[in-house]
């Protein structure tokens, strides 16, 4: 089915990201931050970054120069940081756990732990940063929800289109809404792909998210989101 936006078809939900995740290249290595540096909005007193616990980070992977995917060590301190410098791409997965909304508040607990639950969800997020285009970069690094460019995104000029592939469990995922620059630009086709026009230089953030029912009794749904991050010359 054609999923053009021009028709008022109800497309699958795109749970937007609670906060952005991004990987910052610094003198000491690469650091995972959470906040609103690239999303352009903040409701946290204007703070660009928001602290998180070390347990927030669940998994980290590195695509090395040889095209091999290697695990990166998790740290006991937050923010998560790696000194590894030779990763062509890094993917970090995180989860803030279960959330439950009541008429009075939203709490970071399973729905069974509070009275008057209206909605509940498990929040899982990931970010993948690409710094160089190496063999294997055109394939997903993980089995989780992931966005992968189909060609070297670093070679794209502002104004050109980039086709990205959204995968889940290693397979193309259809009908997944995808956002660029904070705006939803469409949903993936049957082949899991979507074309996005990169509007300007600088840091690029492409986001996708899916919502699936949960049967673990702790929440109604799992909201999983993924970010693809790379930087173009300004």
């Amino acid at each position: 089915m054609r999923q053009t936006l021009l028709l008022f078809f109800l497309l699958p939900a795109l749970p937007a990201l609670a906060h952005d995740l991004w990987l910052e290249r610094e003198a000491t290595g690469i650091t995972l931050y959470q906040g609103h540096k690239y999303s352009g909005h903040s409701s946290h007193g204007g703070a660009e970054t928001i602290p998180y616990d070390a347990a927030f980070v669940k998994d980290a992977l590195c695509l090395d120069a040889g095209g091999r995917t290697q695990p990166l060590a998790l740290t006991k301190l937050a923010p998560w940081r790696t000194a590894t410098a030779d990763c062509a791409a890094i993917r970090v997965a995180a989860s803030s756990g279960y959330w439950t909304k009541t008429p009075w508040e939203t709490k970071n607990v399973p729905k069974a732990d509070v009275a008057g639950a209206i909605k509940s969800w498990l929040s899982e997020e990931s970010v993948k940063r690409i710094d160089s285009w190496r063999p294997g970069a055109d394939r997903p690094l993980s089995n989780g929800l992931e966005i992968t460019p189909t060609l070297d995104p670093l070679a794209i000029k502002p104004g050109d289109k980039l086709v990205v592939l959204v995968t889940d469990h290693g397979q193309p995922s259809a009908g997944v809404p995808v956002a660029y620059g904070g705006e939803i630009r469409g949903a993936t086709g049957a082949d899991g792909r979507i074309a996005l026009r990169l509007r300007q230089g600088g840091m690029q953030m492409i986001a996708a998210s899916v919502e699936t029912p949960l049967t673990d009794g702790k929440a109604d749904v799992a909201i999983r989101s993924a970010i693809l991050q790379f930087e173009l010359a300004k």
């Binding site: 089915m1 054609r2 999923q3 053009t4 936006l5 021009l6 028709l7 008022f8 078809f9 109800l10 497309l11 699958p12 939900a13 795109l14 749970p15 937007a16 990201l17 609670a18 906060h19 409701s43 803030s96 959330w99 909304k101 939203t106 909605k119 969800w121 929040s123 289109k161 809404p177 995808v178 705006e183 939803i184 630009r185 469409g186 949903a187 993936t188 086709g189 049957a190 979507i194 074309a195 996005l196 026009r197 998210s209 919502e211 109604d220 749904v221 909201i223 989101s225």
Partner: protein, 331 residues
């Protein structure tokens, strides 16, 4: 022959509007979705480059109510014509849609004149959509908003089938082909559209099309072939307002329609008081609400070069205005 010919309307329907993408606002809260009512706009009446999504069906209704200028108080001149239209369309592939239209026409003269009304010739149309994105290609099954900003095109072809009563007798027993309920024989049409979303809110659309008719021998022995109709329409649609929560969008549209009508040929001779060239302006509004779309506009001739303008009361180019309203639903 002073008449407004039966509109062989090959309207590719403007049901364009934003799709909906729910967005959880903050902290992953599974809140109410916000709709992104984006995408290109559509003309009021012209054909656009939108094809129906594969497997989707469109129902359509339209009224084109033409009110004519009158000149001779002592004569029963043409007062108004109403062209009602019911249509159904279906997307057979992402790039091919087909439509069927059933028109109902009312042609009303001033008191003392001769009127006609009834179901007219059904029309059909097939439409192929393609686009330019690093080369020409057929419209794919899925396009992002960024894809929709590319140039999109369609070619369409169709015609009418002689299902209406071409020999419809007026109150005095006569047959006036201009007031008949059909052409008697099939007519054929061919057209082209081009559409470009110039910015987030502004969409340009172009249509070029032609309709050709065949000669028909009426029951009274007269032979007539209507003159070829050639159209060149351009429009701009400006998104004025979008309410994501209510899946509502409102566009303003200005449409310019150039129409050239060839002279009719009756019994082998060019018919007096037929044909000419004219330019209409059609400003209007288009409203989208969920899967429905409504368009309304007032169309007026702003420039005319009719072949015998003094004798063509009641024909195209001699309207005071045409009130155009349409609605469609996609499911």
């Amino acid at each position: 022959m002073n008449r407004v010919r039966f509109a062989v309307i090959l309207c590719v329907l403007g049901v364009l509007g934003g799709g909906t993408f729910s967005v959880h606002a903050h902290h992953g809260v599974a809140g109410i979705g916000a709709a992104a009512l984006e995408g290109p706009g559509a003309p009021i009446e012209s054909a656009s480059s939108a094809v129906l999504p594969e497997g989707k069906t469109l129902l359509y209704a339209k009224l084109d109510d033409a009110r004519f200028k009158t000149y001779d108080p002592s004569a029963a001149e043409a007062d108004y014509s109403q062209f009602w239209m019911l249509g159904i369309g279906h997307g057979f592939t992402p790039w091919f849609s087909a439509y069927l239209f059933a028109p109902y026409h009312i042609k009303q003269d001033e008191p003392g004149g001769l009127n006609s009304r009834g179901w007219a010739d059904v029309s059909y149309m097939g439409q192929i959509g393609f686009k330019y994105d690093d080369g020409f290609r057929r419209v794919p099954a899925s396009e992002s908003l960024d894809d929709l900003e590319d140039w999109h095109f369609t070619v369409f072809g169709g015609g009418t089938l002689p299902t209406g009563d071409a020999n419809h007798r007026l109150a005095d027993g006569s047959i006036d082909p201009g007031k008949s309920l059909g052409f008697g024989r099939p007519s054929y049409s061919l057209g082209f559209t081009a559409t470009k979303q110039l910015s987030r809110d502004l969409t340009f659309n172009l249509e070029a099309s032609a309709i050709r008719f065949k000669e028909y021998v009426y029951a009274d022995g007269n032979r007539l072939r209507f003159g070829t109709e050639t159209r060149l329409n351009g429009s701009l649609a400006q998104r004025l307002f979008a309410d994501a929560d209510n899946r509502f969008r409102l566009d303003s549209i200005i449409e310019a329609q150039y129409l050239k009508i060839g002279r009719d040929v009756e019994n082998g001779v060019g018919t007096e008081a037929t044909g000419g060239r004219m330019l209409y302006l059609l400003p209007g509004l288009r409203l989208y609400k969920g899967g429905t779309s409504f368009a309304v506009g007032i169309k007026t001739p702003v420039w005319t070069r009719l072949n015998e303008r003094g004798q063509q009361q009641g024909s195209e180019g001699k309207e005071k205005y045409r009130f155009v309203i349409s609605g469609s639903v996609l499911f």
